[in-house]
C-alpha cells in the first residue's frame, strides 16, 4: 500500500466522520457506554478474584470462645490447641484487644461504636495458624469440638459464599456484555451503512474504473475502527477516574477492604478496553459492508 493510498484512506475517513456527524457521535457514544460497563464488570470480577485468592491462601483460623469461659480455662485450651497436628502458632486475643483492633480498622468511622456505651460485645478469641492452607478446614472442624469454643471461622468459609456471588456477577456480567456488544455492533454497522449509502455513486464509479474490493472496503473498515477507538478512549478515561474515585473512597471508609492498586492495573484495563473497542469497530463495519456494499 503506497503512502499516496494511505493518505487517501485517511482523508476519506475524516471526510466521512464529518459528513455523518451526529451518527458518528452516537456510535462513538454507544461504544463508550458499552465499554465503560464492560470495564466496570471486568474490574469488579478481577477484584473479586483477587479477594478469593487472598482468602484461599490464608492459613489463619479465628477461634471465638464462649462468653462464660474463664481465662484460666482458656490458657488450658491454648496448650491443647498448640498440641494439635499441623498447628504452627496460637495467639490469645483478649476481648479488649479485639475491640482496640476493631476501632483501628474502622478509622474515621469509630464514632459508630459510641452507641455501644463502653460495653464490649466481642468475645475472647485465639488466632490459630496452620502450616498449609489445605489443613484449615479440618483443623477448624476439630477445634469447634473443644469445650468452650463457640465457633472457628476461616477465610475459605467466607469464600464459599463469595464464590456464589462472583459466579452470579460473572454470568450476569457476561450476559450484559453480550447484549452491549451486539448493540454496539448494530449501531456501528448502521452508521457505516449510512456512509456506504451516502457514497454509493462513488463506489459505483470506483468499481467501473477497476478499484479492488479491498480498496473500496478499507476506508469503511478504518472508519469503524476509528469510531471504536474514540469510544474506547472516552470509556477508558471515565473508567480510570471512576476507579480512582472508588479506591480513594474505600480507603477513607473501609480501609481493610483491599482493592487492586491502580497501577499497573488500570493500564491493563485501558489496553483491553481500547483493543476491544477497535475490534468491535472493525467487526461492525465489516459486517455492514458485506451486507450492503456487495462489491
Amino acid at each position: 500500500m503506497s503512502i499516496n493510498t494511505v493518505e487517501y484512506f485517511i482523508r476519506e475517513v475524516i471526510h466521512s466522520l464529518r459528513r455523518n456527524n451526529w451518527m458518528s457521535v452516537a456510535s462513538i457514544g454507544t461504544v463508550a457506554v458499552s465499554l465503560f460497563i464492560f470495564g466496570m464488570f471486568l474490574m469488579l470480577v478481577m477484584n473479586m478474584n483477587k479477594m478469593v485468592d487472598a482468602m484461599e491462601s490464608q492459613v489463619q483460623i479465628m477461634v471465638y470462645l464462649e462468653d462464660d469461659f474463664s481465662r484460666d480455662d482458656a490458657r488450658d485450651l491454648e496448650v491443647d490447641l498448640k498440641k494439635m497436628q499441623g498447628v504452627e502458632k496460637v495467639t490469645f486475643v483478649p476481648k479488649e484487644e479485639a475491640m482496640e483492633k476493631f476501632k483501628e480498622r474502622l478509622g474515621d468511622q469509630k464514632t459508630l461504636l459510641d452507641a455501644l456505651d463502653e460495653t464490649n460485645p466481642l468475645p475472647d478469641s485465639f488466632e490459630v495458624m496452620v502450616l498449609q492452607p489445605e489443613m484449615v478446614k479440618t483443623a477448624a472442624e476439630n477445634i469447634e469440638k473443644f469445650e468452650g469454643v463457640n465457633s472457628a471461622k476461616y477465610g475459605q468459609d467466607v469464600m464459599e459464599h463469595l464464590f456464589d456471588i462472583t459466579r452470579l456477577i460473572r454470568i450476569f456480567g457476561f450476559a450484559l456484555m453480550m447484549v452491549l456488544a451486539l448493540a454496539t455492533l448494530f449501531i456501528i454497522s448502521n452508521t457505516i451503512r449510512l456512509t456506504v449509502f451516502a457514497r454509493r455513486k462513488e463506489i459505483a464509479i470506483m468499481k467501473y474504473v477497476g478499484a479492488t474490493d479491498w480498496f473500496i472496503r478499507w476506508p469503511f473498515v478504518l472508519e469503524g475502527i476509528v469510531m471504536g477507538f474514540l469510544g474506547s478512549l472516552i470509556a477508558s478515561v471515565v473508567l480510570r477516574l471512576t476507579y480512582s474515585g472508588i479506591t480513594a473512597k474505600i480507603y477513607d471508609t473501609l480501609a481493610f477492604f483491599p482493592l487492586i492498586p491502580e497501577e499497573p492495573f488500570l493500564n491493563y484495563v485501558t489496553m483491553i478496553v481500547v483493543i476491544g473497542g477497535m475490534i468491535m469497530g472493525a467487526i461492525g463495519s465489516t459486517v455492514s459492508i458485506k451486507r450492503f456494499l456487495k462489491v
Binding site: 500500500m1 503506497s2 455513486k201 464509479i205 467501473y208 474504473v209 477497476g210 479492488t212 474490493d213
Partner: protein
C-alpha cells in the same frame, strides 16, 4: 479484442435480452451498436465489463474469459476498459481534475504519473482551462468530456460507451464524436451503443444492428439503417 460465440443473456425475470450473439471485434475498430429501445444494446455493453454475466456461450474481452473469470479478477479486466454512460456519472463534490484523478487514485497509480496523465487527457478533451470547475458549473457536453477523460486516463485498450450523446444536442454531439475519433485514431478500440442516426450515417464505421436480442445486420461501413 472482443469475441462472442453464441452468447445468450436471460435476466432473472425470464426476459431474454440477447440470443445467439456471434461477434468478433478487432483491435482499433470503431463499432456502433444500433437498434430500437429494448433491443439489448445496453445488455451487450454491460457484459463487456462484466456488470452483467452472460447466461451461456463464450465471451472473451482482451483475452479474458468473462464467464469463467473469478470475481477478484474483475477489477483488472475493468482497468483495461474505459466506460462512458449517457448520464456522465461524475462526482458532484469533486472538481474536474479530481474526478479524473480519482480513476487513477483508486487503482493506486503512482502519483507522479497522475498529474501527467490527467493533464494529457484534459488536453485531449479540450478542458484544460476548466480543471478547477465543479460538474454543476459545466454544460452537459463538457461534463461528458470529463467522463471521457476519466475513461481514458488509465490508457484502456477498449472504450465502451452507452449512448454517450443521448442527452446532448446535435452540435455538442459532434464535438464529442470528434473526441472519440481522435481516441480511435490513436489505436483504441471503441464500442458505442447509440440512437443517433445522423452520427452513425456520417461516420461510416462498422454497424451492428440488434433487434429483439439478435443481431440482424453487421456491416463494415454502414449507416443507421432505420427511419428512427
Amino acid at each position: 479484442m472482443i469475441h462472442m460465440n453464441d452468447v445468450m443473456k436471460v435476466y432473472d425475470n425470464g426476459a431474454i435480452a440477447l440470443n445467439h450473439i456471434n461477434v468478433d471485434i478487432k483491435k482499433g475498430e470503431f463499432v456502433f451498436l444500433v437498434g430500437p429501445s429494448g433491443a439489448g444494446k445496453s445488455t451487450f455493453i454491460k457484459m463487456l465489463f462484466r456488470e452483467v454475466l452472460p447466461s451461456s456461450g463464450i465471451l472473451t474481452v482482451n483475452g479474458r474469459d468473462i464467464i469463467h473469470m473469478s470475481n477478484k479478477d474483475v477489477p483488472y479486466l475493468r482497468r483495461s476498459l474505459g466506460v462512458i454512460f449517457q448520464d456522465y456519472r461524475l462526482l458532484p463534490d469533486k472538481t474536474v481534475y479530481e474526478n479524473i484523478a480519482f480513476a487513477m487514485q483508486v487503482i493506486e497509480a503512482p502519483r507522479r504519473m497522475m498529474q501527467r496523465n490527467v493533464n494529457n487527457v484534459l488536453d485531449i478533451v479540450g478542458l484544460r482551462d476548466k480543471y478547477k470547475c465543479f460538474p454543476n458549473q459545466l454544460s452537459g457536453g463538457e461534463q461528458q468530456r470529463v467522463a471521457i477523460a476519466r475513461a481514458i486516463v488509465n490508457n484502456p485498450a477498449i472504450v465502451i460507451a452507452d449512448e454517450p450523446t443521448g442527452n446532448l444536442d446535435p452540435e455538442t454531439s459532434w464535438g464529442i464524436m470528434d473526441i472519440f475519433k481522435n481516441i480511435n485514431a490513436s489505436g483504441t478500440t471503441i464500442v458505442m451503443a447509440t440512437h443517433d442516426k445522423t452520427i452513425v450515417d456520417a461516420m461510416q464505421k462498422r454497424v451492428i444492428a440488434i433487434e429483439h436480442g439478435e443481431i440482424v445486420r453487421d456491416e463494415a461501413r454502414g449507416g443507421y439503417g432505420y427511419e428512427h
